[in-house]
Symmetry: C2
Amino acid sequence: MAANLKISPLSAMSDFQDWARTVALDMERTLEILLPAANIAPIRLHDAMRYATLGGGKRVRPMLAFAAGLVTQADPERVKIVAAAVEIIHAYSLAHDDLPCMDNDVLRRGKPTCHVEFDEATALLAGDALQALAFELMANYRLADSSETQILMQQLFARACGSVGMAGGQAIDLANVGKQITLPELEFMHILKTGALIRAAVRLGAYCGKPLREAEMGQLDRYGKLVGLAFQVVDDILDCESNTEKLGKTAGKDQDANKPTYVSLMGLMPAKQFAAELLRDALDALGGFGENAARLRQLAAFIVQRQH
Amino acid sequence: MAANLKISPLSAMSDFQDWARTVALDMERTLEILLPAANIAPIRLHDAMRYATLGGGKRVRPMLAFAAGLVTQADPERVKIVAAAVEIIHAYSLAHDDLPCMDNDVLRRGKPTCHVEFDEATALLAGDALQALAFELMANYRLADSSETQILMQQLFARACGSVGMAGGQAIDLANVGKQITLPELEFMHILKTGALIRAAVRLGAYCGKPLREAEMGQLDRYGKLVGLAFQVVDDILDCESNTEKLGKTAGKDQDANKPTYVSLMGLMPAKQFAAELLRDALDALGGFGENAARLRQLAAFIVQRQH
């Protein structure tokens, strides 16, 4: 059924765009409050933590958490916290990823990267402290009806961040530089590197609300997995087709770094077809959810059709 | 009363030394099991995580957790997990601290540091993944009688790791290099850098067992704070007096790095007196606990009298 849903072009989705803007603004305000104030010691560290997190980003992961929360009628005050925790992990991963010993990048969200604006040690420690802050938030607030569910949420969140999640994906990404790898190997890397946190955002948002049956949570997780992969395929396409100004980060850097991408392994047109297939499958996974999943559907379309 | 306790010289504390050895061996086995196996992908990352954590270290923090657990008759199976989580955070902090952009050290626990044995990016990611693993452990096991208490433990643990805890202390430490600072400023730095995690180890160990009255937990925390500070003062003394072979890490590096220390600010003899005072105050804080706190008392003496 969902596969037959007509997805309007983004230009026509003004209602979605309003919602997305509201979520992004709300997220910014929430992060402003949850991050340590810049006038509290250690000032330079707190300044760097705020710099790395505030004032930019598409806030795709928070949007996914909020959209998933709508499926379970979750209290937005709870979803705010998990969305912030996920976004803070994302921000820390970018600060570390941009370091000279990693991707050595100087531009992020149209601004100098954290270690360029501050220094390497501060960017490293800001990332470390952001990770701790994300876990602190997951313990500082009531996020589910039962403490047992909250501990389950913490488990899946920590796992998504760790060596068989995001950090593991980054390690595989680095190991792949200059190597001939297969499409399944590329997929495995991305399922960890960007996929794990995106999937976690979806599940965490849903866990904030009414309990789902296991099969339903499985379908949501399938949606998260497919959307996470689509996100990366589109990233590779944009890295190849767009320019630095539009992206707000260095364009063409994967190619320059001799990194395998969906475009380099599949070619540009097949990569675009693959993204479209992933979108279709993601919508399919939401088939049983009806109108409650409308934002999740629009979000999947947004992720695949975005221009930056 | 406790101030009058006669603390035997370490050479006579064979019972304590047996206990300490047992805890250290037990911790090593526990970490062996809790760390991801080295034959699971991503292999190099898991290898680095194990390298950074296993096969060395005094395991002072686990000992503190176990000794505090004895005060509340905690189940050792619970204490094992919090002790491992604390030690894993300690290991990650060392891997990051040794990086070229931080202390740039090549020797740790008598072995090449993680980034020398592997590479900088791997050491960075291993540290990141270790931090996530520590928080995963704090959610994967039942650690207290109630889930509410467990969430409280996670809170204090995350806070001890973050920007007003360990990571914050490291940021202040770096900012202090080459600066004239006062003794209170040095103390503030150390209370965060090493003190926060040591205090957390004591409180977490105690939380695994029977609930304490608030005043009792306060006294335990006071003990943790004083012992944490004593640990650092002794570290500074050893860095000045010992040699690289004995320490298993580069001796004299604080002086070389132009870092303010208790020895450089107070002089050697006053620093030794200060350590002795901290020990006395730490024993004082345990006055109300009787025989249950015997290991905590011995441990404080061990920390102050150690030779490496």
